[in-house]
Assembly symmetry: C2
Homo-oligomer: 325 residues x 2
């Protein structure tokens, strides 16, 4: 999950001098902020600093990051079959070379301390941003597309799946030691449409990966209703948000995938004592044995006190050995 961010004064210091996309596109800066959480809060893996929307940008879409609360925006969202057909499947070692360089540099600077994780957005999640153009509450345009023109939607999703797969394969070649696929928006769909539009295209990504023993982590937010269908795609790890009971999830799919998660990220606003209790409860729910990567159920939130993030990592390190021996 996202580890770097505004809760770290050291991140804010870098960010004060450069805008968000410059950070993503300058390997030295991306490496610097990627490694900050490893050094500052002592996490035992490093996730590369980047943004899922660099892929649509590499496919030919103009991407704008608005400062303040605006967030990312595509000023020319996809609204027709012609828009979809005009997108290209990028060569990740050309259009997304800055990510590969950031990975190589980060890997070098980590120097074996902890493993490095690469990532990408799921085809469905990228499509949602590309068709809506900006944040949405109703998701009107992407839903019009799937309900009225499912063929066009599948054309877009297949193109995205091929782009995402080649991007992740390039990340593996560049040194990523695990990769995570983020499906942020699968949860806005009814279950059948989630399978048809999100899982089907994630399946294509996974089929196209040259995994070479690099574990694949799949995170579908707000999709606890389809845990078995998600695990059936056979990632190595299924990542759980905090609305899923990890004990029940283990009973359902724990015999064939590992589980990652799943503490409510907002618990880092609570006291260190309360954080420790919450860590213990999740460990207890998962139970004894291997196959659990302890994590938050989503990225770390802004304004979390750094001391609380440290207390969280420390609590996991202190409490978990007795469960996983």
């Amino acid at each position: 999950m996202r580890q770097a961010g505004r809760y770290l004064p050291e991140y804010c210091a870098v960010r004060a001098k450069h805008d968000f996309l410059t950070l993503c596109k300058t390997p030295e800066l991306a490496a610097e902020v990627s490694i900050q959480p490893v050094e500052l809060i002592d996490v035992d893996a490093c996730i590369i600093f980047s943004d899922i929307l660099v892929v649509p940008e590499a496919m030919g879409m103009e991407l704008v990051m608005e400062e303040g609360n605006g967030g990312p925006r595509f000023p020319h969202p996809l609204r027709s079959r012609a828009d979809i057909d005009a997108l290209k499947v990028p060569d990740p070692n050309r259009e997304l070379k800055f990510v590969m360089e950031a990975l190589r540099l980060t890997r070098k600077q980590l120097n074996g301390r902890v493993p490095l994780i690469g990532f990408a957005g799921s085809p469905w999640t990228l499509a949602t941003y590309m068709v809506e153009g900006k944040g949405s509450r109703s998701f009107r345009h992407i839903k019009e597309l799937i309900y009225n023109n499912p063929k066009d939607a599948h054309a877009l999703l297949e193109k995205l799946a091929r782009s995402v797969a080649s991007y992740l394969n390039a990340q593996i070649e560049a040194g990523a030691q695990a990769i995570q696929i983020f499906d942020t928006w699968g949860g806005i769909l009814p279950q059948e449409e989630f399978r048809e539009f999100s899982l089907r295209s994630i399946n294509l990504v996974i089929q196209l990966l040259r995994r070479n023993n690099v574990p694949v982590i799949l995170f579908c937010k707000d999709c606890g209703h389809s845990l078995e269908a998600i695990a059936d795609l056979r990632p190595d790890v299924v990542s759980l948000d905090w609305t899923v009971d990890i004990g029940r999830a283990r009973d359902m799919v724990g015999s064939y995938v590992a589980l990652q998660g799943n503490m409510d990220p907002a618990l880092l606003y609570a006291s260190p004592e309360r954080i420790r209790t919450a860590v213990q409860k999740i460990l207890e729910k998962f139970g004894k044995g291997s196959g659990h990567i302890f994590n938050l159920g989503h990225g770390i939130l802004p304004d979390v006190p750094v001391e609380h993030a440290k207390a969280f990592v420390q609590a996991v390190k202190n409490e978990s050995p007795k469960y996983h021996r």
Copy 2:
């Protein structure tokens, strides 16, 4: 679910002359916009036009509705035990008299054409707004409250449960023929906290109701993971959002509660033909027999073409009789 709104030109015409809270607080205007969907799109029940946040306002909080995209806002959110203790349990026939008058007037103007539904927000949902003060993505403040000070949270939720129950009892006395409890924010919680902070206080509301054969509908958005716990509170009807499979829900709890729902509201952006197919699929999933109130899985969205809303209602009326005979 919310039926009146910006998709209706007739609603926009009234709204152009009065702000949102004036509509809520002027019984003649509230009755007028409540009845519009009955006359314009031919729905077979009428839900009173109001807002869940009139209850916190009646408890003593200043409520501001910002025009544009701002939405409702409490300029002085609850941030301490003293803030919570300062809230009063309102007398609904005094501080919320305008709702009772709107119900009486609407009931009179409906003149038996269709039944009239009253509603309230769940204690947890109201607490979330009252503590955050405005929209939130992290829900930092309400989560700090429950994780750090659960006793204070329960004090607030109990006061809210008593306020909501007396408000709903007054609505029943004023002529509401069914009531719905909306838990919009239960889904931001882990399952255990959902039971402890949301369901427990909804249970108190239901226990305090003088139901007098008035059906109670309970809608917990994004809480499909806890369907059995929701049904165990014994409302008459459990309302489902569109991420739940209504066939499986019927198998689980359909023998002791009726089900309402659960079409994706965004389907009203699709073509009338596509809407009809979606209606058929949901009817097919629920299957034959009684105990299904066909509805959207949430309120009607802005910008839905009126013709599509009409086509939806017509499709339900045409297609459902063969299932429910």
